[in-house]
Amino acid sequence: MPVSASAIYFLNLRGDVLINRLYRDDVGGNMVDAFRMHIMQTKELGTCPVRQIGGCSFFYMRISNVYIVIVVSSNANVACAFKFVVEAVALFKSYFGGAFDEDAIRNNFVLIYELLDEIMDFGYPQNLSPEILKLYITQEGVRSPFSSKPSDKPVPNATLQVTGAVGWRREGLVYKKNEVFLDIVESVNLLMSSKGSVLRCDVTGKILMKCFLSGMPDLKLGLNDKIGLEKESQLKSRPTKSGKTIELDDVTFHQCVNLTRFNSEKTVSFVPPDGEFELMKYRITEGVNLPFRVLPTIKELGRTRMEVNVKVKSVFGAKMFALGVVIKIPVPKQTAKTSFQVTSGRAKYNASIDCLVWKIRKFPGQTEPTMSAEVELISTMAEKKSWTRPPIQMEFQVPMFTASGLRVRFLKVWEKNGYNTVEWVRYITKAGSYEVRC
């Protein structure tokens, strides 16, 4: 049987224990020492997140300045263990209201112990849904100090829901104003060769939802994806409307989505959890609209000089604009002096990452600013080793633009009380790993 964890430790970067929770007796008490000695204090750190030491396996993850280490002695289910850690951290964050780091852990360690007790028993994950846990683990983070009255007695029927089927939503919610916020967040990954051909390109997107709806609403979401539209036109025996349809390579859904119905009817229908959650994730590799084209020319003039010219074209609508555009152009370590000319934004040399960093705060569509830089290098003895050019990297956010072309066609809300809802939809495309070789 694949256990997920025999023990779980939270360590800071020095290796001090912040939290330890032993779930099973099959691992010894000094596992932290083993981890410190054989992983943290060696070069092994960061070479592989799964390591075997003696008879035990260590899975570890670094989250901000904390290591979370899971120890098992059997042939455990690794994917499950990592997913557990990720979910647990998300849960802690929702309790602390924000950052998860060493200080947050120190300030809330009693709460973490409480939660660790509930989310895993004897090495098997139990209930990690913040919605339900918040019903009966009521001790709030440091934000409100302990109240003098024992007010945190559990809600009488809180535990009833702990094990129930619709575990993600509690009954009897009432909102004055019923609102739904949809955020379509896409990140574009690109790898372009120095000759300008696309080596690899894909979009991973997610639909984030924030629901403030009363009662037990039933929601239905329609997208402009090909399969969904075809199925719909089949059912309604009506030809598909013209317009862009997109093909999703793969979709995954939040547990609230009725997967059976999706498979038969291709509609996304669900009873949403209250508050914020990730409704679905998708991946697209075909027909991606790249928001930016980068055209670099880098000339090495002799041993001590370089000329860098970079032109960036924005290929989205002229009325739109991108925010926080950063272009990082790597230069050799021995860079001594740089001078820039830019038609837009600001550029400077950042020695700590060996890059020319060109920032453009607001970047309108259909424009093509350029940057040209002269780089002077210190001549070194190690001339022979030619400089290997790392790729140019780019960061950006383009609001109201989706690289995949995905659009929300409708979001319907049914509730037995028949109230009106207000729906808000936003789109944003961000850079994932946007790399151009030069």
Partner: protein
């Protein structure tokens, strides 16, 4: 399990010794114990927090056990929890004190608040003290029948805990049968799921002892039970689904229709947001269809997209776990993933453990249609700043060349590597060129021209040096200055630290001698005398052997050292298909990540010399031992790499790590006194080109 003595040792100097603080705490707790003043719970909380934080950093606070128990009489649930945590941590080492807690825990088990009942029961079961088992049975029995589902979920896992403390009590009280009943009848999904986990663990452990248990274990994967779970799949939490899917994976359907039914039912699970559920479903699909070849292929096609999605989402650690599984599948059916090769391109910022797996997959999926693109991409990585990855990618190019696709273009690329003038690139490329030549002797002309241009001074790594020397010996006819290069290498004999290089030098100079005797004679003499004086047993033996062979008959010697060779057609695969199948059987577990079946890392006898123990002292000894083994491993790995350059380092380490007895003489080799026959034969085999043959003749003589 945290003995006080040890926990004190773990303190870092910056932490307080805790003695004074602990006794302070003790008095403060005692004052609060009886108090009923308003606000007393707040000060208790502060004190409890202190105690727990001391406990966490490893200070022994077991001395306040009594006071903690006294203070635990409170309606404050947070206080109770802290107290439970404390008790759970120290009960095991203080069984006598634990007895004190039984009373209040048992009382809490009957509290009217289900929350407190559940918490108390969980803590009671977590005491892990064998002689308190009798107090457990009653509350557990009540817990299983509790009207509240939360208490029942806790009680079910409690049974499993009881089983681990005292298996006989658990069985005698017939708890497993109660669980079975609950599993099939309880309305709450989490209770059912926990019953399943508990029963699986209990009956698997009992199966070896009793017929009944193994029958019960079989019953769990019987049709009615499996269908019961399959039909309720949707009500389970994502984690429980993993457990149910694991169970379904063990079920053997009676006919193909049933297989399809199950697959249709589970297909939507591939869309689940939880990667663990997706992987568990994939396992079910793969195992169900093993007997149906074409469907099995379709399954691969079907699971491709979800797997690729999982790889590209989530943290690097998660994607590593998934990628390991993808790796396994790619290795089993490379042709299915051939068109997806672009997904295995590395991103610049990815951690090296992800890149390494991707490189291996790129190598595996290379075929006629995509080799050009893949090799072009791999060449990009060769210039990478991350040196281990650069090395890996060069090796990958070589492996693809050995797979026989479009060798022409690849050889050109490899030769370009040699001209890149980076030490590690040259080193890796040399080793590859050597392997290529063994497989495609027809390329010797092009390669030799380039290899001849490399100065042996620029090659420092033993493996690369050995490869260069091998080529010098093998192609001494074509390389004009081969005898002189060898001669200069022999002049520096004493500076050559690697025995492997010296062995190759001996053989190469012999080969060269038979082709160009007049130019090599002097060098041969020098090599043989240096070899005879060598402190390394194997070098010494080989020199002596060559010397005697030459004395006996030069033409026989030639036929031994330089026989006509056949090109190697296929390099050996290091991992047997049986082992690969076992790993496949253990899909969705650690085996896949380690790339070895579970018995190799969970069974003690397979784990090898590095034994983990509870004592910190032993631990450091263990570490030393591991360090000692390391050089021996390296020598051995090098040797084997020469033989099987297609092999992966990991797999070589496996057996070597296990056979501590065998590696011992190797790293002792600096003292020439010991030389067992076994080491000799091992080494002879590991240098197949000439020594292997020599040795067999040597034995005949």
């Amino acid at each position: 399990m945290a003995p006080p003595a040890q926990s004190q040792r773990t303190q870092s100097p910056s932490q307080p010794s805790g003695k004074g603080e602990v006794s302070d705490l003790k008095t403060q707790l005692r004052q609060l114990a009886g108090s009923r003043a308003p606000g007393v719970d707040d000060s208790k909380r502060e004190l409890f927090k202190k105690v727990i934080s001391y406990m966490t950093i490893g200070i022994d606070v077991s001395s306040v056990f009594g006071e903690m128990v006294m203070c635990s009489v409170t309606p404050d649930i947070v206080l109770k929890k802290m107290c439970y945590l404390y008790v759970g941590n120290y009960a095991k080492v203080n069984p006598d004190l634990a007895l004190l807690t039984i009373n209040f825990l048992q009382r809490d088990c009957k509290d009217q608040d289900p929350m407190i009942r559940g918490l108390a029961l969980r803590s009671l079961c977590s005491l892990r003290v064998a002689n308190l088992v009798e107090y457990l049975v009653g509350p557990l029995g009540l817990g299983l029948k509790d009207s509240n589902s939360y208490v029942r979920t806790v009680a079910v896992i409690g049974v499993l805990k009881l089983y681990h403390i005292s298996a006989s009590t658990c069985i005698d009280e017939e708890f497993p049968l109660t669980l079975k009943h609950l599993m099939l009848n309880d309305p709450e999904a989490q209770v059912v799921a926990n019953c399943l986990t508990a029963l699986q663990e209990i009956w698997s452990a009992e199966a070896s002892n009793s017929e009944d248990a193994s029958r019960e274990r079989e019953a769990l994967i019987s049709k009615p039970v499996i269908y019961y779970f399959l039909n309720r799949m949707r009500v389970f939490s994502e984690w429980a689904q993993c457990i149910v899917l694991e169970l379904v994976g063990k079920y053997v359907p009676s006919d193909n229709n049933e297989i399809f039914d199950i697959m249709n039912l589970l297909e939507d699970r591939l869309q689940h947001a939880n990667g663990a559920v997706v992987l568990a479903t994939i396992k079910v699909f793969l195992h169900l269809t093993l007997s149906m070849n074409d469907v099995h292929q379709q399954v691969y096609e079907r699971i491709k997209a979800p797997l690729l999605t999982l790889v590209s989402s989530g943290s690097p650690e998660q994607s590593y776990a998934v990628l390991s599984h993808l790796h396994l599948l790619v290795m089993r059916a490379p042709f299915i993933f051939a068109s997806d090769y672009k997904h295995f391109y590395c991103q610049y910022n990815e951690p090296s453990y992800v890149k390494k797996l991707k490189l291996e997959m790129l190598t595996a999926v290379a075929n006629e249609s995509n080799t050009y693109e893949i090799v072009t991409e791999l060449c990009e990585y060769a210039a990478n700043v991350d040196i281990p990855i650069a090395r890996e990618s060069i090796r990958a190019v070589g492996k693809i060349a050995l797979q026989q696709y479009d060798v022409n273009a690849i050889v050109d690329r490899l030769l370009q590597f040699l001209e890149m003038e980076k030490d590690y690139v040259t080193a890796e490329a040399l080793v590859l060129v050597k392997d290529l030549l063994r497989k495609y002797p027809q390329w010797s002309h092009d390669c030799i021209a380039v290899v001849g241009g490399i100065s042996s001074n620029n090659v420092q790594e033993p493996k690369a040096k050995a490869a260069l020397i091998w080529m010098l010996g093998e192609y001494s006819q074509e390389m004009h200055d081969a005898p002189y290069i060898l001669e200069s290498l022999i002049e520096n004999w004493d500076d050559e630290h690697s025995a492997e290089v010296r062995l190759h030098l001996l053989t190469a100079v012999m080969k060269c001698f038979f082709k160009r005797a007049p130019e090599t004679q002097k060098a041969l003499g020098a090599a043989l005398s240096a070899g005879l004086a060598d402190f390394h047993q194997d070098v010494h033996d080989r020199a002596l052997f060559y010397y005697r062979l030459l004395q006996y008959n030069a033409s026989v010697a030639e036929s031994v050292v330089n026989p006509p060779k056949q090109a190697v057609s296929v390099f050996a695969d290091t991992q047997s298909s049986e082992i690969k199948d076992r790993i496949f059987d253990e899909f969705n577990s650690l085996s896949v990540v380690y790339q070895k079946p579970s018995y190799m890392f969970t069974d003690k006898e397979h784990r090898g010399p590095f034994e983990f123990s509870d004592e910190l002292g032993n631990l450091s000894i263990g570490a030393e031992a591991a360090e000692n083994v390391a050089p021996a491993l390296m020598v051995e790995a090098n040797d084997k790499d020469l033989l099987l350059s297609t092999s992966e380092e990991e797999e070589i380490k496996g057996p070597a790590y296990n056979g501590s007895a065998y590696s011992a003489p190797l790293y002792d080799a600096s003292s020439p006194s010991v030389s067992s026959l076994s080491t000799q034969s091992e080494l002879a085999i590991s240098n197949p080109i000439s020594a292997g043959k020599c040795f067999s003749i040597y034995l005949c003589h």
